[in-house]
Symmetry: C2
Subunit: 440 residues, 2 copies
């Protein structure tokens, strides 16, 4: 009998790689990693766990990967969304950020977001916001897995005075955290309209040299594409390709307005697309052609975007929205199946973020980032394909247990990583509230 | 001090009629009815309640009204949706119904749906399914408010042999339950494609005489409209207008494909529209132009449709989807505000069902159909407009307490009206499971 840390039996296990769904499954965990996944009856005879958990009505999945968010913007959750996108950014978000955002704001908002995401089964998120060093510090302290996107823009922001300082600070973040077991720094130029060619040239040199990942808002609105055509004589994606920025490890976020040539370019350059269905609906931006991208062989991940646009950091709800939206856009209910949406929410995210060797599926050797989802509530019955039930019937309230690298973050629906009262106090604390309220 | 049954204090109360949101509110309940709504400080001095409840972080709303569902189809929740609509009906649903649906199936599936809906804050639902007498009996036994739609179709169904028998049984249901405090029978011709002119003529005579409400699937797909033009030389709505069926008390369900003339006709005839956003997406049917309908003065309600198409009977999720879809369709994030979606989910539903004198708002004299929603979780903070938080941040898991006619159905997130183990047993019971499984 092999001694291990943890043995979890579950009614179903959804490995999310090419392996089929297992019934009456078990997973053996040791030293924060998956040792084996298989039939409970077979595994039980081989392991002597220090802890054994029975989850008899549950689906076990790899932890959800939120491939795009702005965590600290959870402190702006209560602001009205007066849009569309550019109006909302120009009139609400950017003025407010100039006035209110500082390191303390980012610490507060990010903790609020982390608590929400963990409770919803999200074990890894790709962030893009000012003061990314604060996000990295919190992630290390709370044992969350985070891809910390250092924002790059040309203009002055609360974090840096100009493109120079953004690039310098981003490079420093890279130096401090590269090789960290939980934190992966990333270069996050905001968008083709917030970063000019000169900065892209320097950025390209930097990421070529460091072999660092990139994330960027792209083809979010029709206006963005038209403006790029007017300014550069090329669509944003083609322009970035000319600048040599597209590559595996580049996350193109949104991608609502795509031609066949765009999709072909995405495929040939090996970039990933991050689909944020609810944010794109809320802001009236458009619909990402997920089915076409996947059919062309482009990896597609799923993101919530920030709470300021979307309200909730709920990746299971986004998975459902992705299926519904794909069906609406194509008049084909099977355009995106539940299992495909869950793959986008797990392995697809891991691939987009360059973490597929470490997370995203229940493969032995990968980190034990796990989530258990209880499918026994009346709202979930009857169950046939557990992936259908998880996406279309269950919600984040069915998440009962969450582990990151083998460490329990949620147990029996109780959030262990944060004290809810502390989080409530953070969200209500005078400075942040007053500052944000004043701008509303 | 006036003795009353129940006094609830809540952080916010959303009356859902024209009255503004109240902060630090209280509601006085006696004999199953609302006595007074107002500031907690003022009301506390006037009433001597037998029971006092503090809900200090909660929004108090009228119970949610699910204006269209097929409750028993919850037993088909696990079936794959291979669509679009007509393919799914012809290949999956109708053959299965012919084989499996009987009174026992409807009792089982309806209880499963009732448990799910109550836990999600739904206190009244408009049903449309075979064996409506079983639904009525269950509603009476469990103290739920239901508009029981007796299905009318020309063909043989599990419930009746032909149009004659459908009409007869519907009329008998009317006779048995009219005037019931909780149950309102309704005539529910399935659709313009499942009912012919002769039956409509007889139905019209019947509902004219009884002054009974009507509900019908209408303008759900583009194909339905085209087929009607080919068969009758008129769009479905215009054809029904010619047949004299459109009137206040007529719920037109779906209404995705509408011209300006259709909307004008809806307005002039005083019908209500029931929007089922997720079902229409899932089946690839289309988008109901909610903003245009409301701008024209048409009452719009919100429905989940059945679990077979939509997966979850979750009206709060539908409210969010309605807002997202309206924004997507119009590129205007404010096309449908959260408060408007909640109004559709409460008073709009009550109006559509002819129950606005009894439910749908927190008006004194109305039945105490109430729901409390806890907005203190990290996922909900910060709160500014509670309606925004309820729709965009909270979910059905935030529902803590539910009353129907003053009777507690959910208390502190615990379902009192049903035993979850009993419901699980119902959903898993051999006959229904086997029958449905065999058809999958």
């Amino acid at each position: 009998m092999q001694p291990i840390d943890l043995f979890i039996e579950s009614r179903w296990a959804l490995p999310m790689d090419d392996a089929p769904v297992l019934e009456h499954a078990a997973i053996a965990i040791d030293a924060g990693r998956i040792v084996e996944l298989g039939a409970a009856s077979a595994l039980a005879a081989r392991y002597a766990p220090r802890e054994r958990l029975m989850r008899p009505h549950h689906a076990l999945l790899p932890g959800l990967v939120n491939a795009h968010t702005h965590a600290a913007m959870s402190l702006m959750r209560h602001l009205p969304v007066r849009g569309p996108l550019m109006q909302w950014l120009n009139e609400t978000i950017w003025p407010l950020e100039r006035r209110c955002v500082n390191a303390q704001f980012v610490r507060s908002g990010t903790q609020l977001a982390m608590a929400e995401m963990l409770a919803a089964g999200i074990t890894c998120f790709a962030d893009m916001y000012f003061f990314p060093e604060e996000v990295a510090r919190l992630a290390r302290a709370r044992h969350l897995r985070v891809v910390v996107g250092a924002p790059i823009v040309d203009a002055r922001t609360p974090w840096a005075a100009d493109a120079d300082e953004h690039l310098d600070k981003a490079a420093r973040l890279w130096d401090e955290y590269r090789g960290d077991p939980l934190i992966l720094p990333c270069f996050a130029p905001h968008s083709p309209y917030a970063v000019g060619r000169e900065t892209f040239v320097r950025l390209r040199r930097l990421v070529d040299q460091l072999d660092a990942p990139l994330a960027m808002h792209l083809h979010e609105t029709q206006t963005e594409v038209q403006d790029s055509l007017a300014a550069h004589g090329a669509r944003p994606l083609a322009w970035l390709a000319d600048e040599g920025l597209l590559r595996p490890g580049f996350s193109a976020v949104h991608m609502n307005w795509l031609t066949d040539d765009d999709i072909d370019l995405a495929m040939r350059t090996g970039i990933s697309v991050v689909h944020c269905p609810q944010s794109n609906q809320r802001l009236g931006s458009g619909i990402c052609p997920v089915g076409d991208l996947r059919a062309a062989g482009v990896n597609v991940a799923l993101g919530t975007d920030g709470a300021a646009s979307v309200g909730a950091l709920d990746l299971l709800a986004e998975a459902r929205s992705a299926c519904l939206l794909a069906s609406l856009a194509t008049h084909n209910p099977q355009a995106l199946g539940a299992i495909d949406a869950l793959r986008m929410a797990t392995l697809g995210g891991a691939q987009a973020l360059g973490l597929a060797h470490e997370i995203g599926s229940l493969m032995p050797g990968k980190a034990a980032d796990l989530v258990c989802i209880d499918l026994s509530a009346p709202a979930c019955l009857p169950v046939d394909e557990p992936s259908d039930t998880v996406v279309f019937a269950a919600g984040r309230d069915a998440v009962t247990d969450v582990w990151v690298g083998g460490r329990a973050m949620v147990r029996d629906r109780r959030l262990l990583a944060f004290d809810p009262a502390e989080i409530a106090a953070i969200a209500l604390e005078a400075p942040a509230r007053a500052a944000v309220g004043a701008a509303a």
